[in-house]
Amino acid sequence: MKASGQEVIIVMIEDDEGHARLIEKNIRRAGVHNEIVPFTLGGKALDYVLGESRDGLANRDRYLLVLLDLNLPDMSGIDILQQIKGNEHSHAIPVVVLTTTDDEREIQKCYDLGANVYITKPVDYEGFATAIRNLGLFFSVIQVP
């Protein structure tokens, strides 16, 4: 998976290690072998995505894709989404929201804030695996020639 000839880095912000592992496994199964940088805390993830000063300048010469869980222990995923989409240097980063709830208002809020894809984590694992694999398809779609 490349963008403008560069490897896309997948930033996975997910506090549940089990979920993180399952997501990773399914992404790999879908045939996506990009680097995955995992974070369990929102603050640390923002430090990486926007830089420690949160200016977003680090994104001028790299391509990220963010997998975002909405419920993190230290801050709300909505806040993270808002900050990424609110910064002129990072607002183009595709953000895939992953969450265990399918509250329609929350989904709408995420889309309003600029989320690109919203995936609920179903208890039914096959559905989940399918969704993640579809994400692999999505990854290939966003590859910029």
Binding site: D16, E17, K25, M75, T100
Partner: protein, 498 residues
């Protein structure tokens, strides 16, 4: 209610008194007028009596004077007054008899008077007859017998007596009339004063009542406004409680679902791994390929233990979550035991449990209180609340800065008390001020152990006590937890029961 009854009673009393007074005055006046009329009638009738007496006396004297003149002058022209008097006499007598007849004290004199007048008239007419016949000497002799004179004196005496009696009676009636007029005057003045007093009293009572009414009306308006405010407050509380329940349900389902996703996912992974293993184990007569052997080994050495580890930890997590929810629910259902508590000493005792940790870093706890620190509430809940808050303050202090804990207790409006728990710890970001009170949610750096239950528990406990907790904070400077409590828990219960 009492005011209206008292007003009704006193105004009815006033009205009754006024009516009685008026009836008294009017009937006394009527009676006095009646009495006066009787006196006037009596006066008129006595004047009739007087004139009848005077008339008879004058007629008798006229008759005598005329007869004497005739006797002396023998001139027939002198007979004219005599004849006239004699002609008038029966009418005069009739008038006297009519007026005196019904009056017993006068009537007794009538017979004697009749006798005297008849005697006198006989004497007079004899004298006239003798003179007419020229028997002058006989006439003079008759005159000189003095019989006529005595009769005349007797007439004068009787009539004079009657006249005097009449005059006495008249002056007596005049006196009575004067005294009746006096009474009427006094009664009228008294009545006027009484009416003024009654009217004044009535005005006073009405004025007081009107004042009471307007005061009551103001109270009702104030109460109404208060009621509206309370209804609004209650509605807000209800809306808030409802939102909290929804939020709670959301959090619980979300957080319970997260480990479930893990369990189902890793069970599926287990399946995949077992397939790899079974391909190898069940290969029977044919030799497994290199790949199959590698996959089976990988499955046994890595995938299977990993999957089981995640399943185990997720199950444990679910159990922990359920226990936490149960704890909050149990504390919420616990029967509160209101008792009189001195807040200051309760907080001091709780602060003492973290004293050691405070002193280690050179920190301190200060507790300031107004003069009201005694409240009626549930001791267990309050101990949990302050215990949690102080533990948090110690846990989330700013590294390298001695912790200063300040507790300030002061009254907060009627029947409420406010407690500020201020620390100089790491603080909470603006966006997380509400989040910290949510179940299983935490804020800021996750460098301390915790499940995100403490403040959710504090909020649920204090709301059960009819209070609330909010937080004001500045990141890096410190936080102030503002607690509000009713001073008497039993009153809150009572108003909730209604």
């Amino acid at each position: 209610m009492t005011s209206t009854a008292a007003f009704l009673r006193s105004s009815l009393l006033m009205l009754g008194l006024g009516i009685l007074l008026l009836i008294g005055i009017v009937s006394y006046s009527l009676w006095l007028v009646q009495v006066n009329r009787e006196y006037s009638d009596e006066t008129a009738s006595l004047r009739g009596v007087r004139s009848a007496i005077v008339g008879l006396l004058a007629t008798s004297q006229d008759a005598e004077t005329g007869q004497r003149g005739y006797l002396l002058s023998k001139d027939a022209s002198y007979l004219e007054p005599y004849d006239k008097a004699v002609a008038q006499l029966p009418a005069r007598w009739k008038a006297l008899q009519d007026t005196l007849g019904p009056r017993p004290d006068y009537a007794v004199t009538l017979d004697e008077l009749k006798l005297a007048i008849d005697g006198k008239m006989t004497e007079l007419s004899r004298g006239v007859d003798l003179t007419r016949q020229g028997r002058y000497d006989e006439a003079l002799t008759l005159l000189s017998t003095d019989a006529g004179l005595r009769l005349m004196d007797r007439i004068r005496e009787i009539l004079g007596g009657n006249l005097e009696r009449t005059d006495d009676r008249l002056s007596e009636i005049v006196d009575k009339q004067l005294s009746a007029a006096d009474s009427l005057q006094w009664v009228t003045i008294g009545g006027a004063i009484a009416i003024l007093v009654v009217v004044g009293g009535a005005i006073l009572v009405i004025f007081q009542h009107v004042r009471d009414l307007s005061r009551t009306r103001e109270e009702v308006i104030a109460l109404n406004a208060g009621l509206e405010e309370r209804v609004n407050e209650r509605t807000e509380d209800l809306i808030r409680a409802n939102q909290e329940i929804q939020r709670f349900a959301y959090i619980v389902t979300h957080d319970l679902r997260a480990p479930l996703v893990n369990i189902m996912g890793f069970l599926s992974e287990l399946d995949t791994s077992i397939k790899a293993v079974s391909t190898y184990v069940m290969s029977d007569e044919r030799t497994p390929t290199e790949d199959e052997i590698r996959e089976a080994r990988l499955a046994v050495s890595e995938d299977l233990p990993e999957a089981m580890g995640f399943i185990r930890s997720s199950t444990k997590k679910m159990d922990a979550l359920i226990n936490a929810i149960l704890k909050i629910s149990r504390d919420g259902r616990r029967k509160l035991q209101p008792e009189r508590i001195d807040l200051k000493s309760l907080i001091e005792a709780n602060a003492a449990t973290v004293h050691h940790q405070l002193a280690e870093q050179g920190g301190e706890a200060k507790i300031a209180a107004g003069y009201i620190t005694s409240i009626v509430s549930d001791r267990f809940s309050l101990e949990q609340i302050f215990g949690n808050l102080f533990d948090n303050a110690v846990k989330y202090q700013m590294p390298g800065r001695p912790l200063k804990l300040n507790v300030d207790i002061r009254p907060d409006g009627p029947r409420r008390i406010r407690i500020d728990v201020r620390d100089n710890g790491r603080g909470i970001g603006q966006q997380d001020l509400e989040r910290v009170f949510e179940l299983f949610r935490r804020a800021g750096e996750q460098d301390q152990q915790g499940e995100g239950i403490g403040l959710a528990h504090v909020r649920s406990l204090i709301r059960n006590l009819g209070g609330d907790v909010t937080v004001e904070s500045e990141l890096g400077k410190g936080s102030t937890f503002v607690l509000s409590l009713p001073t008497d828990l039993t009153r809150v219960f009572r108003s909730t029961d209604q």
